[in-house]
């Protein structure tokens, strides 16, 4: 999907909601747990109930890998089922030396029809670039994450590199600067954790144009209002993800309708911020 298409969908739907399909067989409604194709059936009903309210779905690959072969199959079926006007993200946090990253890119962009994959930056340029070589596909690189562990490395301060740039800035800021020079705002986004809304202003000084994937609104405690206020740019520039808050909103047979109610709340709030 191109940036132009994504931006159009956001305008049309008045939404920048991404629904996270962190499908865990121990958490889905009881009546579905014995279904022969439980994970896909759950996803299908969630997608049917929410697709007019969101512009993206994010598949957390860990949950599918934890189901073994059957999980990988459910992931493939889910990607095929999601309507083509949705931006489909593999939340896979991959990243390795060049020839290996190329294999991951092939897995998610060619074997499956994802639009984007999340990428861990630790190993540097040659680990990220293979994901930028596919037309209309995106790498979403980890910047500042919303978990407690983000303080361990992401928020340490650098002396600077050989060119003496980056002096005294946080690792995640160096990551945003360097990685953004490897691609452009048409093939690169960043993960920015929503619990640090106050940091959004500084982040927008470094990457004013890029889309940001913002997890952590909902169960992780971020504020949609603050994220939107400080993170939005002229093309919206935000995809705000909610996973558990939406997909596990209900525990009974009407779980999809319950999920829709929550998704609707996000969408209404977002429509307000888009004005």
């Amino acid at each position: 999907m191109t940036r132009k298409q994504l931006t159009q969908h956001i305008r049309q739907k008045q939404s920048y909601l991404c629904v996270g399909l962190d499908t865990d067989l121990t958490k889905i409604p009881k009546h579905l747990q014995s279904h022969p194709d439980a994970a896909f059936e759950f996803n299908k009903q969630i997608i049917d109930a929410t697709q007019d309210l969101c512009v993206a779905y994010k598949i957390n690959t860990a949950f599918y890998e934890a189901m073994g072969l059957k999980g990988w199959e459910a992931m493939e079926k889910t990607v095929n089922y999601i309507p083509k006007d949705q931006f489909i993200i593999a939340d896979a946090k991959r990243g390795d030396i060049g020839n290996t990253s190329s294999q991951y890119a092939k897995a998610f962009f060619e074997m499956m029809d994802f639009d984007a994959i999340t990428v861990a930056p630790y190993m540097g340029e040659d680990s990220v670039k293979p994901f930028l070589e596919f037309e209309n596909k995106w790498a979403i690189v980890l910047g500042l994450t919303s978990n407690a562990g983000s303080k361990d490395f992401e928020q340490l301060k650098f002396v600077g590199d050989d060119n003496n740039t980056g002096s005294g800035e946080f690792l995640y800021q160096t990551v945003l600067k360097k990685v953004s020079s490897w691609g452009n705002a048409e093939n690169l986004m960043f993960v920015i954790g929503a619990t640090k809304a106050s940091d959004f202003e500084d982040i927008r000084k470094i990457i004013p144009d890029h889309f940001l994937l913002v997890p952590g609104v909902g169960f992780q405690g971020g504020s949609l209002e603050e994220v939107s206020k400080y993170g939005m740019n002229k093309d919206c520039g935000l995809l705000v993800n909610a996973s558990r808050a939406i997909i596990y909103a209900g525990e009974k047979e009407d779980f999809a309708a319950e999920a829709r109610v929550i998704a609707q709340q996000y969408q209404s709030e977002m429509a307000g911020y888009l004005k």
Copy 2:
């Protein structure tokens, strides 16, 4: 596998060789490419030909994911086929927020019987710890990697953290210090790229006891002699990986015998360094 068992296998076999199964269907011998179960058949023959010469196999998950569902199946079959006295590594570079890392741990330690998984440290403590909670299983965390991109972040210098520790040290050194405090030398190893053999002495000052997984000997140009001289500790403390140099040594029907010849060369050289 326990550290004691791994150390015993190294002594018995006089080898600390890890064979990397980076199985790529476009690179395996032509006569196997049309085999209905090509990836597994290739792996099976490589394993049969090398298992008395190595103590570990490393499965690069990217190559299997790139084959889709069939690849995931080949990975599972390969793990089940590898003899139980081998240390089996999922080279998967995973790492995410706590509940997601737990799912990855479940995938590789419970759904499949890997002994270890490689982990990316960027997201910090809660992204690594879930991999340390399984008895006799290991997390192998990225320290200093052997690719060109290691200069982008791993080799930048820090000012230090809130406690003013780590002043002026490289990011990868901070990673080694912090991560080693989250586990111990019985459940934690580090990836240290072999092309930087001169750094091994400094690294051993930070983590004298931990095992190091050393990729990059062979096609990536590292020297086995230097790695062994500077990296070895009293329990050997090294697993040196070679992938392409071994598994693609031959292109014809005798490829497994050719692979054995190269594995034998590594093992003989290692036996010398173990004395």
